[in-house]
Symmetry: C2
Subunit: 236 residues, 2 copies
């Protein structure tokens, strides 16, 4: 029987690639997504499609309303920043940061992992072509892993909890190349912070800019549908 792993799956470019990598390593996957009050509900539809493509054992979607706290452009009625120059992205923490989001997501992944009897958790954080969120950095992940081992019965009993972050030091272009090698269909992944009701990506938020630049560096056309004009020199 293959080893079980919990994977945090948003249906975006990174987490879908992550799923393909984990599956490639022989894990049987238990996917976890969150309805956390994000503006872009299309995420969850994409997550479900990708979970199916990945052939996961189980896909849980938990309802946790982070709008109860507010304070982020991803959950509140605050404008998502657009057309930031790609070189400026990640230099400070933007308004799209959701307080404690990855700590909350990883905590649930930990509970899920413990309940299915595994210590393997995959999260698609990236600290290179990213928006500068503190909870995507390696030092955060290492510290969470340590906490997880102290938090759980599994950890206490010596069954080590491991937080896998195979994308953390990859460029967006590298992530895309790896995903394509595993057959990921990026037309069915959504990265945009501010998509239209019908699921078109805006093309101008930080997530879109990083994604488009990643495809461009690979000289591949991004198969996502964008509402905005093609990427130009101003942003790439």
């Amino acid at each position: 029987m293959s080893k079980k792993a919990v994977i945090l799956l948003s249906g975006g470019l990174d987490s879908t690639t992550l799923g393909a990598l984990a599956k490639g390593e022989g894990y049987s996957l238990y996917a976890l997504s969150f309805a956390y009050g994000q503006r872009h509900g299309i995420e969850l539809a994409r997550a479900a499609e990708q979970a199916e493509w990945l052939g996961v054992e189980e896909h849980k979607i938990l309802d946790i309303d982070l709008r109860a706290f507010g304070g982020s452009a991803l959950t509140d009625d605050i404008e998502v920043p657009k057309n930031t120059h790609v070189k400026e992205i990640g230099k400070s923490i933007p308004i799209t940061y959701v307080p404690a989001r990855n700590t909350i997501f990883l905590s649930f992944a930990l509970g899920y992992a413990e309940s299915i009897g595994t210590g393997e958790i995959f999260i698609g954080v990236n600290a290179l072509d990213y928006s500068g969120y503190p909870d995507c950095r390696p030092e955060f992940i290492e510290s969470f892993e340590q906490t997880a081992n102290l938090a759980t019965a599994a950890g206490v009993e010596g069954k080590k909890i491991k937080i896998h972050t195979p994308l953390i030091n990859l460029s967006k272009a590298d992530i895309i190349r790896k995903g394509l090698a595993f057959g990921v269909d990026y037309s069915k992944t959504i990265s945009c912070y501010d998509p239209s009701q019908s699921g078109e990506a805006c093309g101008e938020c930080e997530a879109c800019i990083l994604r488009r630049a990643g495809f461009e560096r690979n000289r591949i056309t991004d198969p996502a549908i964008y509402a905005a004009a093609p990427l130009n020199k101003k942003t790439a």
Copy 2:
């Protein structure tokens, strides 16, 4: 203006005493409770009463269904252990342990704290007269605090996150004495893992046994209403 603090409030003996202590230190309180699928919904009614008594600025009750994972007698249809000898309690991790519960609760407290602009979080964990849950121990709390400082914009910007655990090294008897000094009405707190529909404590689960022994050591009658016979030598 007094300093804000987030307090995890279950409406039990420990968290109510915790609230009284934090208020006594001059904090203005932001209480956080969870509807997490616990068997004993009476908890949330008690939490609301105690929040009112404490005069909190705000009381949020978040809906997070930990039954989605299962694996605990507190959320599933698994029998709660009864009549464990008080000296045996805490020596191993019992079936009432909920995987990653305090990690999840503290993660939400962290998000709440960051959104209201404070780094002060109070949790009523106790590692002395307790059920042996790994996520009540000082080493877990210290590690979570470190993670929290790496996880958040506040932490990165140098606004330190502090997890306050004033009860962690107190005996149950000491906690009760402190609470009484602050005027806590323990008849309105619920500790039982398995109360009746009408809110009577069972008197025989580990939480009841520890509570009753704490009152007995203080030679005070526990004002809680118990379904079982008075505490006897077998358990105390």
